[in-house]
C-alpha cells in the first residue's frame, strides 16, 4: 500500500467498496483530476443529502461518502414498527442510488479527524484526504445522566431511538408483555432528536395495545413540562385511546434520576415506578465522532456558522443534522435534509470562490396518532444576524379542529413524506 499515492489508494478503496455493495463504480474514477475533494461522514438524513446535492450542483467535485453500515434504517416511521404496522425492511435503504450518481460510497468507521492535515482516518487504516469535510454524526447518549443506565443496560431496557436492532428489542418486549401490564416511556430533556417522537410512540403503542392487550397502560415520564404538538397529541390520545396514555410532566414527578434494571424500577424525584416494559430514551448530545473530533462545545452540541454550517471550532469542517446547533430549527430528519442542501450549496460556492449563498431552510414533521389521523408541524426559517430564526407568521401545527378528511389526508401525507424524503436521499 505504501507504493500507492493517496489518490490511487482512494480510487482502489472506492472500487473494492463498490464491489462489496454490489453497485457500479462508474464515474468514481474520472480520468481528469477533481476540482476538489469533499468527504461526507454519515449517510443518514443529513449526510446522504449533502453528498447527493454536492454532486448535482457541481459534477467536477469528487464526493466520498463514508458510512459505517452497508444499509440505512430510517428512524422516522420506526414507531410504526413498534405499533406493528410495518416491518424494518420497509425502512431500510442501500447506497446504490448514490453510487450511481458518482459518489464514492465507502463502508468504514471513522476513528479520527485531523483538521490540520485535512485527513479523515478509517478504522481499517484507510485515510481520506479532503479539501472540505461535512460530518453528519447524529446523536449520542449521555448515559451518566441517569444512574444505573449504560449502553449494556440498553440491551435490556431499550431506547429504540436509533432504528434497527433496538427497535426490534422493544417490539419483542411489547409483544411478550401480559395484558394489563404497564409500559413506561422515559422522555428526555431538550434538546433531543425528533421532539414529537416519544409522544407519537405512545400513540402507536396504544394502537397496538388497544387491539391486542386493551387492559394495558402507557405512562410517559417526562423530564419536561411541555412538548411538541402537545395539544394535538393529548386530544388525539384521549379520542382514540381514552385513558390508556398518561403523561407525567417533570414538575409532577416525571424526572427520572436512576434505574434498577434488575427489577425494572425507575427512581423519580418523588416516587418509584415499576414497569413491565421500559423504554428509556436517554439524554442526548452530538454523535460520538463530533465529541472525539472536538467539534462539540460544553453544551455537548456543535456550534456552527448557521449560514454555511462550517464548524465554529475547526475550519473546513461542516457539521449538519441533529449534531449541530441550528438556531430555531428542531433536530429532525427534515431539518437535516434542509441543512444538507444549504451546506452543500455553501461548500460548492467556497470551492468555486463564490460568496456563501443566502440560505433558505424548512422543517416539516408528521406524526401518526391513529391509522386515519395524522398531524403535522412546519417551520420556515431564514438567517437573521447570523442566527437561523422562524419567519414570523409561517409554519405552525395542524389546526386543532381539523375535520376527519384533513386528518386522514395528513396521515397519507406522512407516508408520502417518508417516500419522498427517502427518495431524495437514496435515488
Amino acid at each position: 500500500m505504501k507504493t500507492l499515492t493517496r489518490r490511487t489508494f482512494l480510487h482502489a478503496s472506492a472500487l473494492s467498496t463498490a464491489a462489496v455493495l454490489g453497485g457500479p463504480s462508474l464515474a468514481v474514477h474520472a480520468a481528469t483530476p477533481p476540482k476538489a475533494r469533499v468527504v461526507v461522514v454519515g449517510g443518514g438524513y443529513g449526510g446522504a443529502i449533502a453528498a447527493k446535492y454536492l454532486r448535482m450542483s457541481d459534477p467536477d467535485i469528487r464526493v466520498t461518502l463514508i458510512e459505517k453500515d452497508s444499509a440505512y434504517v430510517s428512524c422516522p416511521l420506526s414507531n410504526e414498527v413498534l405499533g406493528g404496522e410495518r416491518d424494518l425492511a420497509s425502512l431500510t435503504f442501500d447506497y446504490r442510488g448514490l453510487t450511481r450518481r458518482g459518489i464514492a460510497v465507502m463502508q468504514d468507521t471513522v476513528i479520527e479527524i485531523d483538521p490540520a492535515q485535512h485527513v479523515v482516518k478509517g478504522a481499517g487504516g484507510n485515510r481520506y484526504n479532503y479539501d472540505k469535510l461535512i460530518v453528519s454524526p447524529g446523536v449520542d447518549y449521555d448515559w451518566a445522566a441517569i444512574e444505573g443506565m449504560s449502553e449494556a443496560v440498553a440491551e435490556r431496557i431499550p431506547h429504540a431511538w436509533k432504528a434497527g436492532k433496538q427497535t426490534q428489542i422493544l417490539r419483542r418486549q411489547l409483544e411478550a408483555m401480559e395484558d394489563g401490564g404497564v409500559f413506561y416511556i422515559v422522555a428526555p430533556p431538550n434538546p433531543f432528536r425528533c421532539p414529537p417522537g416519544p409522544y407519537e410512540r405512545a400513540a402507536q403503542v396504544a394502537h397496538y395495545f388497544s387491539t391486542h392487550k386493551s387492559k394495558s397502560k402507557i405512562v410517559i415520564l417526562d423530564a419536561k413540562d411541555a412538548f411538541s404538538k402537545q395539544g394535538l397529541f393529548q386530544a388525539g390520545w384521549q379520542e382514540h385511546y381514552g385513558d390508556m396514555i398518561e403523561w407525567v410532566s417533570g414538575a409532577q414527578g416525571g424526572i427520572i434520576e436512576a434505574i434498577d434494571p434488575e427489577t425494572r424500577t425507575l427512581m423519580g424525584s418523588f416516587e418509584e415506578f415499576r414497569g413491565d416494559v421500559i423504554n428509556l430514551i436517554p439524554h442526548q448530545k452530538a454523535g460520538a465522532l463530533a465529541q472525539t473530533a472536538g467539534l462539540a462545545n460544553e453544551s455537548g452540541w456543535c456550534p456552527v456558522d448557521q449560514r454555511t454550517f462550517e464548524s465554529s471550532i475547526h475550519k473546513d469542517i461542516h457539521v449538519i443534522g441533529d449534531a449541530c446547533i441550528a438556531g430555531a430549527m428542531p433536530k429532525s430528519g427534515y431539518s437535516a435534509n434542509s441543512q444538507g442542501k444549504v451546506c452543500a450549496a455553501a461548500v460548492v460556492a467556497a470551492i468555486n470562490g463564490d460568496a456563501p449563498p443566502a440560505p433558505s431552510y424548512v422543517n416539516t414533521c408528521y406524526s401518526i396518532i391513529a391509522p386515519e389521523h395524522g398531524i403535522s408541524v412546519a417551520g420556515v426559517y431564514r438567517l437573521d444576524d447570523g442566527r437561523i430564526v422562524d419567519i414570523p407568521g409561517a409554519g405552525g401545527v395542524s389546526p386543532a379542529d381539523a375535520d376527519a378528511r384533513t386528518r386522514a389526508l395528513e396521515q397519507q401525507f406522512a407516508l408520502d413524506w417518508f417516500r419522498n424524503i427517502t427518495s431524495d436521499m437514496f435515488t
Binding site: A358, S360, T364, R382, I391, G396, W417, T422
Partner: protein
C-alpha cells in the same frame, strides 16, 4: 482601514440616512434552487414525487405554479400544510420557486392502470375534461395543470376536493366535476396517471 474604504462606508451611511425607509438589513436574495430545494423533501428531487397523494410539481407550467402557491398563501386554496408553509415567502420568492420547477423535466409515474380501473374513463375524459385538459391530459397552461403521468392518489383527491367545494382551480371546473361519482373520479385519476 484605508481612507477610500472609510469614505465609501461614509457614503453608504449617508445614503441610508437619506432614504430612511430602507431597511437596515436588506433581505438577501435567495436563489431559485436554494428556495426550491427545500420543497424536495416532500415533493421529490427536482419535484418528481415518489407518490402517492403528494403531486409531482417538476415540469409544471410556471403560471399555474405561481397561482397555486399564491392561493395557498392567501388561503384562497385550502390546504393541510401548504398554507402554513407559503406564509414564509414573498411574491418574488414564489415566482422564483415556480420558475425553478417549471424548468425541470416532467417525470411521469411508472405505474400503468389495469383495465378494470379505467372503466368508462376515456369517454368521461372526452365529455368532461378534454376541452381544457387536451391530449389525454398532457397539455398544460396557467389554467390547466398537466395530469398525464401524475399520481392517481393526488388526482383523485384534487377532483374530490373540487367536487365537494373545498377548492377548485379554476372555479368553472366545479360544475363539471360535480356530476362525477367517486367511482368515476377514481377511474379518471387512473386514466390520467396511465397517460405518460
Amino acid at each position: 482601514m484605508p481612507v477610500s474604504t472609510w469614505s465609501r462606508a461614509l457614503c453608504v451611511c449617508l445614503l441610508i440616512g437619506m432614504f430612511p425607509s430602507l431597511p437596515l438589513h436588506a433581505e438577501e436574495v435567495r436563489s431559485e434552487s436554494m428556495l426550491a430545494n427545500t420543497c424536495a423533501g416532500c415533493h421529490g428531487t427536482l419535484g418528481a414525487s415518489a407518490g402517492e397523494v403528494m403531486p409531482t410539481i417538476g415540469g409544471m407550467d410556471k403560471g399555474y405554479l405561481v397561482e397555486v402557491l399564491t392561493d395557498y398563501k392567501t388561503g384562497r386554496r385550502p390546504s393541510t400544510i401548504m398554507g402554513r408553509i407559503m406564509q414564509g415567502y414573498g411574491d418574488r420568492e414564489i415566482s422564483a420557486i415556480a420558475s425553478f420547477y417549471a424548468a425541470q423535466p416532467w417525470v411521469s409515474t411508472d405505474r400503468v392502470a389495469v383495465a378494470d380501473q379505467l372503466a368508462e374513463a376515456p369517454a368521461l375524459h372526452e365529455r368532461y375534461c378534454e376541452s381544457c385538459h387536451q391530449d389525454g391530459g398532457r397539455s398544460q397552461d396557467a389554467e390547466s395543470p398537466r395530469m398525464a403521468g401524475q399520481w392517481a392518489g393526488y388526482l383523485q383527491y384534487a377532483m374530490q376536493a373540487c367536487r365537494d367545494g373545498e377548492r377548485c382551480h379554476p372555479r368553472k371546473m366545479r360544475n363539471r366535476v360535480a356530476e362525477l361519482s367517486d367511482a368515476q373520479i377514481a377511474a379518471l385519476a387512473h386514466f390520467y396517471e396511465s397517460q405518460k
